[in-house]
Symmetry: C2
Subunit: 218 residues, 2 copies
């Protein structure tokens, strides 16, 4: 699957030139980020809560936290929105009005299901773990039955989704180009600092390469 | 105002030890970030959409985009959620289950108002501009009447808000501390690259210091 035709709800209306429905690009954004915001409604009040996620093929697995309480109460699938936003830079224009951000974002609308089969929970937890630090699943102690039970994970299919991308320089009005004002882009990068060992780390355990060399997957 | 007593809706239930209701800390998080996710509901479908914002005292101004279309249709205040999330690091545990993220987030619940007075729009746009690049308001061409009209900005009072903060090393189970597995934190920083001039920049315009020296305000 390489494309997701937009529905009336995922079709990007504001600045549609920034919209992308290509599934490869959507996957690439999802596979670079590691924090999503999950939108859901309780008693008419919308919430947007940050949490972690992982992708397995055409499904996104989202760490449940707040949303899972709601799902457990309602006991059914509920409409949610999952959004992943990567900020790439600040577009500094000559006019206040044309300042902007360079970013890549994916918005997924769908019915979330609280998964309950241990096998699928393992698959989901593996995807979350590998999204955070690739290779970590094989390095760390696997979840036991009690931990699997304590973990709430939502599954959302990647059927109704779209991406929005802005790149490049600011777009000033033609009449502003003559102004004596600097314009351009400040690129922004997520950069890891050196790994900080746990104070309780046993002596003689080296930092694994996938931690030392961790970089956002771009 | 230095504290926001939690309501039933903003009281942090999951991992309450991470909850903070101190308004100074809430302000500090809001004044460091520059992207929020705004949660709102249309026809029962929740949305979580990234956008920019600025703070002026006890109000948050949020760039309208998608949510403003909804507000214009409804023609009244509507319940929204505005969330700002700063990711500070990855907490790498010995067990898959105890992997976590270090982060600071603020969740604001409230009734959004679409502002329409030009004076308040100027105040709001100034706060958005200064949030992005401090000092930029004085450097760039101010909004004209047409641009003010074209700008949709929501005002949300900071009355019902809470912060959630995780810092420090991973928290493994005591029986896992003896494992032959590295544990610790990968700190994450948002780092600017060198400014990229607009290809249409007139010759002889120097990069201003506030662009050269841009850093997240921490």
């Amino acid at each position: 699957m390489t494309s997701s035709a937009p529905t009336a709800r995922t079709r990007v209306i504001r600045e549609p030139q920034r919209a992308v429905y290509d599934r490869d690009l959507i996957n690439a954004i999802l596979d670079e980020g590691f924090v999503c915001h999950i939108g859901f409604v309780v008693d008419g009040q919308p919430y947007a809560i940050p949490t972690s996620y992982g992708r397995v093929g055409d499904n996104l697995y989202v760490h449940g936290s707040a949303a899972s309480r709601m799902l457990k109460q309602l006991g059914a699938t509920v409409p949610i929105c999952v959004t992943v936003t990567l900020v790439d830079g600040l577009a500094i224009a000559r006019s206040v009005f044309n300042h902007s951000m360079n970013y890549r974002s994916v918005v997924i609308l769908g019915a979330a299901v609280l998964i309950d089969q241990p096998d699928e929970k393992l698959v989901a937890l593996r995807s979350l773990s590998e999204r955070l630090v690739p290779g970590r699943w094989e390095q760390s102690r696997p979840p036991n039955d009690q931990e699997l039970k304590a973990t709430s994970i939502l599954r959302v299919p990647l059927t109704e989704c779209s991406a929005k991308v802005r790149t490049g320089p600011p777009e000033d009005n033609p009449e502003d180009l003559a102004l004596d004002v600097w314009a351009g882009v400040i690129p922004l990068n997520l950069v890891p600092g050196g790994p900080i060992p746990d104070p309780q780390l046993r002596p003689g355990i080296a930092v694994p390469d996938n931690v030392t060399n961790w970089r956002p997957k771009r």
